[in-house]
Amino acid sequence: MTGTQTVLVTGVGRHVGARVAAVLAADPGIRVIGVDTVPPTSPERVGRAGRDGGAQLQFAQVDLRSPDITRVIAARDIDTVVHMSLLSGPARSRSAMKEHNVIGTLQLLAACQRSDTVRRVVVRSTTAVYGSSPLDPAVFTEASEPAEPPSSGYGKDAVEVEGFVRGFARRRPDVAVTTLRFANLMGPGVDSPLTRYFTQPVLPTVFGFDPRLQFVHEDDAVEALRRAATEDHPGTFNAAGAGVLLLSQCVRRAGRPTLPVPGPAFRLLGELARGLDRLDFSPEQVALMSYGRAVDSSLLFAELGWTFGYDTASAYADFLRARGLTENLPLAVFDTVAGLVR
């Protein structure tokens, strides 16, 4: 390593952003500037970052939509930018979420393009860019063209963001640009529409559909982002744990009852739940819950020379364990009855 690296991490106000900032700051050769609209929420995590990294981690409250970010990048000699502030969940409103995701990225990339010091940009994207439809191949590679690209929500934001990132990479060929398309994150600290879904007492499902789901464990996501931030790995890569779980397998492993509802009713239920601020059954979420999605991450593993420690199934198992969702009533009943039969 030559001298000190200065990394700007966006989205440190949330769990994975804070973890990536902390793990980077733990490296004595790296200085980390964390930015977000809100300070890191979890004091425990900031404390840990402070203990591990000491003064190496500084937080700056910046709204990416404002030109302030240009000043931050110019003033601090940033050489690496890790952009992970894309919001997937329902923000205050859809338009606020879109503005945060799309305008925020535009501002950030505009600032990077002006900078003479930025040498590396890492963007956390999502496999939601592939959408979810019955016309899609079973397994997406990075080169696959989705049959029906997402037309709304998080997925569409991510498609637009990736478009800006490609444009930036074209205009600044001297900057190594890495885009990581993560599958749904799973793990003890992850709070997403999908993790909230799995902790409901009864799980509504779309009648007649059993989607294939893929997860990536938060530890693996953090490590993949760390590697992308500290080594040059230009390109766009899928990042999902190996294998798939069917939704029916997920609910059985959690021992949860399901409530199959016809597609249109599922959407209505989603609207109601959104009113309660519990769940997100946006159209793209309903499509995922119907048709599922799987991606091939072998390109990423070959590029990094490293493979995720968790596959889809073990990432999900770790999530269940951490949330204490280990009591499987149907299985207990079965074992009792089976004991009598034997």
Binding site: P134, L135, D136, P137, A138, V139, T141, S144, V206, F207, G208, F209, D210, R212, G243, V244, L245, L246, S248, Q249, C250, V251, R252, R253, G263, Y291, G292, A294, D296, N328, P330, L331, F334, D335, A338, V341, R342
Partner: protein, 270 residues
Amino acid sequence: MKELPELLAFLRRRIAGDYDVDEFGYDAELTDTVLLELLRPIYRHWFRVETSGLEHLPADGALIVANHAGTLPFDGLMLQVAVHDEAHRPVRLLAADLVYRLPVLGHLSRKTGHTLACREDADRLLRKGELVGVFPEGFKGVGKPYSQRYRLQRFGRGGFVASAMRAGVPIVPCAIVGAEEIYPKIGDFPLLARALGLPYLPVTPFFPWLGPLGLIPLPSKWLIEFGEPIKTTPGDADDPMTVFNITDQIRETIQHQLDALRDRRGPAFG
């Protein structure tokens, strides 16, 4: 049926979700234990299927190309039982997108190992050394009128041949005799079919006149024959003329097989 402890262990795995599906959603345990078990009586006793030419199935990846008939795709299911029970391998069929739009059918199709007929999925399965089955006539074949039985329809654009070439696997022509007679299609409701988003809505001597009873397939006698494999070379996939020629060659081979097999069988309901 299985021994009781074995059955209990199976049920416990199912309740706990403790089984594997592959990335296409193929649930081998459910398919072998439950779904194929439901099809076996139909295969053995209703259609009395006789399968020949199994020695032509190679040990690793290959593309099985078969004729398609019968209004409802029973031929796909019977082909699956034949390959599974007689060659002891799963066959991964490529199905129309309509299947994946429909509730229940879509996920059952994935669980039994099938996937969407698209270039990516075909390439991926063949590269993994799977036995992939395809019906290149598609709806033109399965939905053709009874008067055109055993006359092969047009074979798409030859995409399946190019997939086999890219993977460098042989193509096994397969003739299925018997499916043509299960629902003799003598008419169609094109307007109603279009309103329902279906490729056709058939009229048979028994459907829709007898209601659900008309959905019972007629017990025709079936023969399935695998022909000699046709080798492919990877470089040819980019040469459209070679792809067309091989597509034609396969189509003619299957037509000849069909004619010979039909003669051998004699009357459909004998």
